[in-house]
């Protein structure tokens, strides 16, 4: 008599013996096999339908009129102006917010005061708030009805404010955990070797958090070049003055010129992807090498 509960011989597939000796189907094996094939297939399908196919269509559409049409769409004066404005503004905002983000992270990690949790929540606010609401609030405060008497509507500074608002969390949250986990002993070691506080910060702390600051700046930049909702209200979208790339793409698609819109979109995507890749490369290069 066969052993009760003996495992099925290899290769026999779902058919097996149940614990009481009766022959049966091992549902878990069937389930596992289905999951192993079906799972990734479903995931890839979802991803394709929502992201991959559309991106492919974007690329294809951008080139659908041939390289000449692509070039024309991209070098159109309004497109160039919009791209230029977007890049410069995003760069400046990324730099400013890197510094501000570092300062805020420093205060959060190394300073003690009541209400820290509130400050922390405040930093996440731009991330939780819909972009259009962000734009509205900035408009309310620094637009035509501003209680301060400033009017940033239709100005590049207004755009800068909107971009700074939405990208601040990236700059703070990328630095904060690294700063918090810094080994204080290395700072004490530096102090015991004679370094003053400023020297400790400059020579020991900053180099250690530089990769994180860089990563935050990269994320901020990538977000800023694509930002739409918060900018659109305060900028007024004045061509050649306050029209950012995403607004230009939007108006192109509204007017039906989809291939031009695609062309400019492709350029925008290439820019943010290259920045992210470059930052990744720099981090890998400048991070102290790790042992196996």
């Amino acid at each position: 008599m066969a052993d009760v509960g003996a495992p099925a011989p290899p290769g026999s597939g779902p058919a097996t013996r149940l614990l009481d000796g009766r022959p049966g189907v091992d549902l878990s094996a069937v389930g596992r096999r289905a999951a192993r094939i079906g799972g990734p297939a479903l995931a890839v399908t979802y991803l394709s339908l929502l992201v991959l196919l559309p991106l492919a269509a974007l690329l294809s559409n951008a080139l659908s009129g041939g390289p000449a049409a692509f070039w024309r769409a991209v070098t159109q004066p309004e497109a160039v102006a919009a791209l230029e404005l977007t890049l410069v503004a995003s760069l400046i905002v990324a730099l400013v917010n890197s510094v501000a983000g570092l300062a805020i992270a420093w205060v959060l990690v190394r300073d003690q005061f009541r209400g820290k949790a509130l400050v922390s929540a405040l930093i996440d606010l731009p991330f939780a708030l819909p972009t259009v609401v962000a734009g509205l609030t900035l408009l309310a405060l620094y637009g035509p009805d501003s209680p301060f008497g400033v009017n940033l509507a239709g100005t590049r500074l207004g755009i800068g404010c909107a971009l700074a608002f939405v990208t601040l969390p990236f700059c703070v949250r990328s630095v904060q955990p690294v700063l918090a986990e810094l080994d204080r002993e290395t700072e004490e070691a530096a102090a015991s070797l004679g370094a003053k506080n400023t020297q400790v910060v400059r020579r020991i702390v900053l180099p250690s958090i530089a990769p994180a600051v860089l990563a935050g700046a990269g994320l901020a930049f990538a977000r800023a070049v694509g930002e739409f909702g918060s900018v659109v209200l305060i900028s007024g979208n004045l061509p050649f003055k306050t029209e950012v790339a995403s607004s230009w793409i939007f108006s192109l698609s509204q007017s039906g010129d989809l291939s031009a819109a695609s062309a400019v979109s492709v350029v925008l995507v290439l820019i943010s992807l290259s920045v992210l890749l470059a930052i990744g490369w720099m981090r890998r290069r400048f991070d102290a090498p790790e042992t196996v």
Binding site: E185, T186, A189, A190, A191, S192, S208, A288
Partner: protein, 343 residues
């Protein structure tokens, strides 16, 4: 005297870390601060270094009162248990750090770094990063880095605690040799009594924030000031209400009664072979138990089995009833609890 600690006390919130500790570290010596974890040794070391401040008391280094002075002005070299390497700098730059801060000329810095790397055996690893070194190599780098600034005293906070047993052994001997070459006053914090006794000229035992005893390892082993020091520094077992070292006991078979009038009868409970030593646990008549440490040869000759009837006697005190001399270390009476001496 290189370091004079006078009446130092420190609390963290409600917890007392150090309670009125005073001690002196002779110039050129290697003193170990020994004690159980959490006893206050690291706190004391950090106070000497200037990384923490005492609530009360003072620190003098080479005659100078440095109590209020920050760490960077004290001229002490400090090594951490986890090395505190500057990860973004190469080994060379790590070692050079203190000299670069002091703006020494480049040629001088290079020469000194070369010299130190040679001394600690890391010349071939100068351009690596700390993450590429083993634990032992990192600690040697940390030592080189601390020595680069020619410190008045060298302070080591459990320097070998994070290393494998074998590496620890090697580095202990290496540290001993380094010290005899350089003669820098060194204070070493450790919770490993074997390490302390092997490496240090003098021991200071610190427990619950108080200094229990100060002296040479040999003296403290044989003349512990109290029960804590006795049990901390070496194996101990009780016989007739007094503490005795297990290697100071002998076992005789029941038929062969020893001459000692205080010999006791008992039954072997267990025999454990630990390589060179053999540990024999004995249940005594009418009650109580002790254990005896025998060499392999002696145990082999006796060939004891659990259940055997035996005699147990001391070999460290004479047969008469006179109490042995006092074991209390002279300088530190005010800190020590007097307990029945070893007899």
């Amino acid at each position: 005297m290189s370091i004079i600690v006078d009446g130092v006390s420190k609390r963290f919130g409600d917890a007392v870390a150090l309670d009125d500790v005073s001690l002196e570290v002779p110039t050129g010596s290697l003193t170990a601060l020994l004690g159980p974890s959490g006893g206050g040794k690291s706190t004391l070391l950090r106070i000497i270094a200037g990384l923490d401040e005492p609530d009360r008391g003072s620190i003098r280094i080479e005659g100078e009162d440095l109590t209020g002075t920050p760490a960077r002005k004290r001229g002490v070299g400090f090594c951490f248990q986890h090395y505190a390497p500057f990860r973004h700098l190469t080994v060379r730059r790590n070692v050079a750090f203190g000299l670069e801060i002091r703006r020494r000329p480049k040629a001088e810095v290079k020469a000194r770094v070369d010299e130190l790397l040679e001394l600690v055996g890391l010349s071939h690893l100068g351009d690596r990063y700390p993450s590429q070194l083993s634990g032992g190599q990192r600690q040697r780098m940390a030592l080189a880095r601390a020595l680069a600034i020619e410190p008045k005293v060298l302070l080591l906070d459990e320097p070998f605690g994070a290393l494998d047993a074998q590496v620890r052994q090697q580095l202990r001997q290496w540290l001993r040799e380094l010290h005899s070459t350089l003669h820098v006053t060194t204070v070493l914090v450790t919770h490993d009594q074997e390490e302390a006794m092997e490496v240090a000229d003098r021991l200071a035992i610190i427990n619950h924030g108080r200094l229990e005893q100060l002296g040479t390892p040999a003296h403290m082993y044989d003349h512990p000031a109290n029960e804590f020091v006795l049990t901390f520094l070496g194996p101990a077992t009780e016989l007739d209400g007094a503490w005795v070292r297990p290697h100071d006991l002998v076992v005789h078979p029941a038929a062969d009664r020893p001459d000692h009038p205080k010999a006791r009868q008992g039954t072997v409970a267990r025999v454990t072979h630990l390589g060179f030593e053999v540990r024999v646990d004995v249940d005594l008549d009418p009650e109580g138990s002790c254990w005896v440490q025998l060499s392999r040869g002696a145990a082999g000759e006796l060939d004891l089995q659990p259940g055997d009837r035996v005699w147990v006697a001391r070999t460290d005190v004479p047969a008469d009833d006179e109490p042995p001399p006092s074991v209390v270390e002279e300088h530190h009476e005010r800190h020590l609890v007097t307990v029945p001496p070893l007899s």
